[in-house]
């Protein structure tokens, strides 16, 4: 059906969803096999699935962009997008909440408990101080790791992300004032900052593994550290890629000063990733 319907654009039948589902089937099956060393099927299926997924994303979003550019989206559709994006970000917040919750629980409950009197029966002489390798893993000298100072790269990264938040807002104002030049400049800076952040993050990981001996397997500290920063890094990657797409769309002349939700959605997302980082910086790096 279509614009005959009171102006609200209802998408016609589409092949993309079913393609996306088959992609996920391949990826899930492949992932499961890969994790259980059933090779080469694992990696193969994973790769096939991922390829299909990328194909689907290009096709689906390409179609959305065309629809948007050919003016099919009326203000009501725009509102739908705003609602849905807000709720999506809410779900992301809850996703992160699970991992922050794990960090909180480990620090304020499980670790202190493991150090208390009753459990001394099992773990003699475990001094439950954060950061910790845990009572058993900690017994092996080769597992000891050095703490990560927040005032080096992490602080730098904070500055980078915060300023990227500023630049994207600048771009937004430029878009509304229809200054395409500033818009693209602002976006370019944002993307650049985003990828620089990622670069530093990767460097930091290598540093942690090689010098600090801080690994994913370094007890609950390593687990929470890498889970939180890694999951966040993954979101930064997504955000940066989406920003890049938006930038190219702007270069192609997409978006109007009064209607540009595609842009706003991504900037919302970017700000969200930004805020999460602040939480990370505080709870993962500073308060050790």
């Amino acid at each position: 059906m279509s614009a005959t319907t009171g102006g609200y654009y209802f998408a016609p039948p589409s092949k993309w969803p079913i393609i996306g589902s088959s992609a996920l089937l391949f990826m899930a099956a492949g992932g499961a096999m890969a994790m259980n060393q059933i090779q080469p099927y694992g990696w193969t299926a994973l790769a096939i699935g991922f390829a299909i997924l990328v194909y689907m994303l290009f096709g689906w979003f390409g179609q959305v962009i065309n629809e948007s550019e050919s003016g099919l989206y009326n203000p009501q559709v725009d509102t739908s997008f705003r609602w849905s994006m807000s709720w999506f970000i809410f779900s992301e917040i809850m996703f992160f909440a699970a991992f922050f919750g794990a960090l909180y629980y480990a620090r304020s409950f499980s670790v202190p408990w493991l150090g208390d009197l009753d459990n001394a029966l099992i773990w003699q002489g475990y001094d439950a101080k954060w950061p910790t390798l845990g009572p058993y893993i900690g017994q092996t000298a080769s597992n000891q790791f050095g703490a990560m100072s927040p005032w080096g790269i992490p602080l730098l990264n904070t500055v980078l992300l915060l300023s990227s938040g500023v630049t994207v807002t600048w771009a937004h104002h430029a878009l509304k004032a229809n200054h395409r030049g500033q818009l693209i400049a602002g976006l370019f800076l944002t993307v650049a900052l985003g990828f620089t952040f990622l670069g530093f993050q990767i460097y930091e990981y290598m540093h942690a593994y090689s010098e600090l001996n801080l690994k994913l397997t370094s007890g609950v500290f390593g687990s929470t550290f890498y889970m939180l920063t890694g999951f966040h890094g993954f979101h930064v990657t997504l955000g940066a890629v989406m920003l890049t797409v938006i930038m190219f769309r702007c270069i192609k002349g997409h978006f109007k000063p009064n209607q540009h939700f595609g842009f706003e959605a991504v900037s919302w997302y970017w700000h969200f990733v930004d805020v999460v980082w602040l939480g990370l910086f505080l709870f993962v790096y500073v308060l050790v």
């Binding site: 493991l114 009753d118 459990n119 029966l121 099992i122 009572p135």
Partner: protein, 410 residues
Amino acid sequence: MNSIFLNISLFIVRVAKSLAAQMSLMIFVLFSSKSVWADYDVNILPPVTPISHQIYGLHMYILYVCAAIFIIVFAMMFYSIFKFRKSTGAKPDVNFHESTLIEIIWTIIPFIILIAMAIPATKTVLDMKDTSNPDITIKVTAYQWGWRYDYSADDFGFYSNLSTPWSQIGQPGVPATEAKGKDYLLEVDNAMVVPVNKRVRLLVTSNDVIHGWYMPQLGVNQYGIPGFIKDTWFKAEKVGVYKGQCSQICGKLHGYMPITVEVKSEEDYVIWVKSGQAKWGKAAALTASVDNSVSRSDTQAEDPAKKFTMAEAKAHGEKVYATNCVACHQLTGKGQPPVFPALSGSKVVQGPIDQQIGVILNGRPGTAMQSFARLSDTDLAAVITYTKNSWDNNTGKVVQPSDVKGARKT
């Protein structure tokens, strides 16, 4: 609700019994093993500790309150069902669809009722949680699939395993060869023993997955969580034998790790401790549990110097196997691959003695194969010999208790 419960249930029983008659007939034909009719309970088992008495009372109290509410509420409903039916020409009173007053009333009243329930419950919770100044403390360690009790103060401890033989349980397709005894699945080789009228504090933990030390009549149900120790307590007021089971799913044999607590008089308890120290003194802690086929008919004394002949070893080994191994590796020795590998034709079993002893003493971490170090040298020697010379395996090797003893040291 109790009264309603009972009436309805009695009705159900009547209906169902007749059905059961026919159905069981059908099932007999299907499985040709006969069903057992024990007498049945409809309520919490008789309490024997201060806490479980409180629990019993609480349950009754709440049951009756709920029953009352249920009767009132549904009396109203059925009244309207009979009074206001279209077929008898009832006209709808369409204006009767809002009344702040009623809404407030039926918000407040339940609230008050709940408070009346919460107060006694709170008292019990506080008593339950107060594990202070115990008379004796016992460490309870769960493992797949049994229990270990350590009486640290008296410096001894022992394992407690299901003693119902698999010949009573049967296997899918392989019907039980022996009639089920009256304590089917509730009997253990060595019961936990406690003195009457003493505060017993339990330190519960586990060495693999989560289990639940559950004793209904003692009012105790405590998870054993690997790596953590959680404490709870009870004070049994009646001498007797009480039964419970593992309450938290812990893998294949979760249904087969019962708990038995024997409450003895002060004197008998002291005697038991003495014999316990003799039998399971710390020194012997490792070779503690004598497998039940032996302990029930105390023929097989523990003699490390013993020299097995192939025949002896296989004969005894078969018993040990039937109690400790058959559940996973099966009577046929074919196991249930890949989780429970076959022993018949297995490289490890046909391979060098020490290797197999190692696996059995240390288990295979991360798999369901746990350490059987708790079994005695003779039992291990016998069962290893049995596996090495049964089914498709005929290595001709006879393992001696001394071999096992040696392996233990390293």
